[in-house]
C-alpha cells in the first residue's frame, strides 16, 4: 500500500472514531485520546516545565475538545484543532498565573534573562554535541516568555505569523524573542558543559 493510501486509511479511521465519539462511544474517546496524548502532553510539558501542571493541562485540553466534539465538521485536521486548543489552554493558564507569555518589550527583561553576547570572544562550538536531555533541561530553565515562543516555533513547528496570532504579538516580536531564546539556550548549554568539564 502506498503512503498516500495508508494515510487515507488512517484518516478515515480517525473520522470514524470522531463519529462514534459524537454518539457517546467510550472506546472511541479513548482511542482518540491515545492517538494524540503524547503530542499534547509534550507541548504542555515543554511550555510549563512541570509534570503535574502538564498533566492537568492535558486533561483540560482533552476535556474541552471532547465537550465540543459535536461541533467538529472536519474542515481542518482534527489534530490541528486539538493542538490549537491545547496551546490556548496552556497560554490561558500562564496568563492566569501572571507569567509573561511573551515579553512585549525589550526593556522588561531582567538581568538574568538578557542573553550575554559573546561576539568575537573565544568560544567552543556547540554544533554536533548537543545532548537531548541537556537541551530539555536548558529549555526548562528558560524564562516563561522565551520558553513559549521557542517551544511553539522550534519544537512544535508553528510559523511566526501563527505564533503572533496565538499569543497576540507582532511577527517581528516573535522573531526577536525566538532569537533571544536561542541565544539564552546557547549560553545555558555552554555553562552546563563548562560545569561538567570542571567536575572531577
Amino acid at each position: 500500500m502506498t503512503d498516500a493510501r495508508k494515510s487515507q486509511g488512517k484518516k478515515l479511521s480517525e473520522l470514524e472514531l470522531i463519529d462514534r465519539a459524537k454518539q457517546g462511544d467510550a472506546e472511541a474517546f479513548e482511542s482518540l485520546y491515545n492517538l494524540h496524548k503524547r503530542r499534547v502532553y509534550s507541548l504542555c510539558l515543554r511550555m510549563t516545565a512541570n509534570t503535574a501542571a502538564a498533566e492537568d493541562l492535558t486533561q483540560e485540553a482533552f476535556l474541552q475538545l471532547f465537550r465540543k466534539i459535536g461541533t467538529f465538521r472536519g474542515e481542518s485536521a482534527f489534530s490541528t484543532w486539538l493542538h490549537r486548543m491545547a496551546v490556548n489552554v496552556v497560554l490561558m493558564q500562564l496568563r492566569k498565573k501572571g507569567l509573561p507569555v511573551v515579553p512585549l518589550d525589550d526593556t522588561v527583561e531582567t538581568e538574568d534573562e538578557i542573553p550575554k553576547k559573546e561576539l568575537g570572544g573565544p568560544d567552543r562550538n556547540l554544533a554536533g554535541s548537543i545532548d537531548r536531555l541537556q537541551l530539555q533541561r536548558a529549555v526548562d530553565d528558560l524564562p516563561p516568555g522565551y520558553r513559549s515562543i521557542f517551544v511553539l516555533h522550534d519544537v512544535e513547528g508553528y510559523e511566526h505569523n501563527e505564533i503572533a496570532e496565538i499569543v497576540g504579538c507582532s511577527v517581528g516580536n516573535s522573531k526577536s524573542q525566538l532569537h533571544k531564546a536561542r541565544l539564552k539556550l546557547r549560553e545555558l548549554l555552554k555553562t552546563s558543559r563548562a560545569e561538567k568539564a570542571r567536575r572531577p
Partner: protein
C-alpha cells in the same frame, strides 16, 4: 558589515542570508560559529516533541468527567468494536456487590476519621483499620484483575495501572485525614478517592461482561 550589524539582522535571517550577510559569515569565524550553534539548537529542538507520555490517571479523570457529564453513553449495538458474548450470569452479582463493599468500607473509614471521634481514636486503632482496609483492597483487586485477565486481557495492564493510581490516591488522602481529622477538604478528597475506586471497578466489570 561588522559583527554587531550582523547580530542585529540575525532574527530576520532564515535560510536565505543576503550577499552582505553571507560575505560576513564567510569571513568571521565567531559569527559563523554563532549561526552554527543556533541552527544546531533549532534542529535538536525538533526531537523534543512527542517523547513523553502522561500517567494513566489523566485518562481516568477524563473518562470519569465524560461519564458524569453524560458525554459517554452506553451503546446499545456495537457491530464493529467488541464482539458481543452471551452474559455470564455467575459474574453479574460481582458489580453491585463489589461496589457496595467498597462504598461500605469507605464509609466506615470515613466515619472513623471524621468529627470529634477522630480526635479520640488512637493512632494504633487507625493503623489497624488501615491495615485491614489494605488487605481487603489487595484481595478485591486481585479478584478483579483475574476477571479482567479472563475477559479482556488486552485491558489488564491498563486496569492494573488505574488501580495502582487510585489506591495511591486513597493512601495519600487517608494520610492527610490522619494528620488532621478535622480537615474538611481532606475528608472530601478521601470520599472522592473511594468513589473513583468504585468507578474503576464498575467500568472494569461492565466492560468485561460485554
Amino acid at each position: 558589515m561588522n559583527c554587531e550589524e550582523f547580530e542585529l539582522a540575525l532574527p530576520d535571517v532564515d535560510d536565505d542570508p543576503t550577499i552582505e550577510q553571507q560575505s560576513h559569515l564567510n569571513s568571521c569565524s565567531a559569527c559563523a560559529e554563532l549561526v552554527a550553534d543556533l541552527d544546531a539548537i533549532s534542529q535538536q529542538a525538533k526531537l523534543l516533541g512527542s517523547s513523553d507520555e502522561p500517567s494513566p490517571r489523566v485518562w481516568n479523570f477524563i473518562e470519569i468527567a465524560l461519564r458524569q457529564e453524560g458525554l459517554i453513553r452506553e451503546q446499545r449495538s456495537e457491530p464493529f468494536l467488541v464482539p458481543r458474548r452471551p452474559p455470564r450470569r455467575r459474574l453479574e452479582w460481582l458489580i453491585p456487590v463489589a461496589a457496595m463493599l467498597l462504598l461500605m468500607l469507605g464509609i466506615v473509614q470515613y466515619k472513623r476519621t471524621s468529627g470529634p471521634v477522630a480526635s479520640r481514636t488512637s493512632n494504633a486503632e487507625m493503623a489497624s483499620t488501615s491495615q485491614i482496609a489494605d488487605a481487603a483492597y489487595i484481595a478485591d483487586d486481585q479478584q478483579l484483575l483475574e476477571v479482567v485477565s479472563r475477559r479482556t486481557p488486552a485491558m489488564l495492564a491498563s486496569y492494573k495501572a488505574n488501580l495502582q493510581d487510585v489506591n495511591s490516591y486513597i493512601r495519600d488522602a487517608e494520610e492527610s485525614v490522619k494528620m488532621d481529622p478535622n480537615d474538611e477538604q481532606a475528608r472530601r478528597d478521601l470520599m472522592n478517592a473511594y468513589e473513583q475506586r468504585s468507578m474503576v471497578y464498575e467500568m472494569a466489570l461492565d466492560r468485561s461482561l460485554q
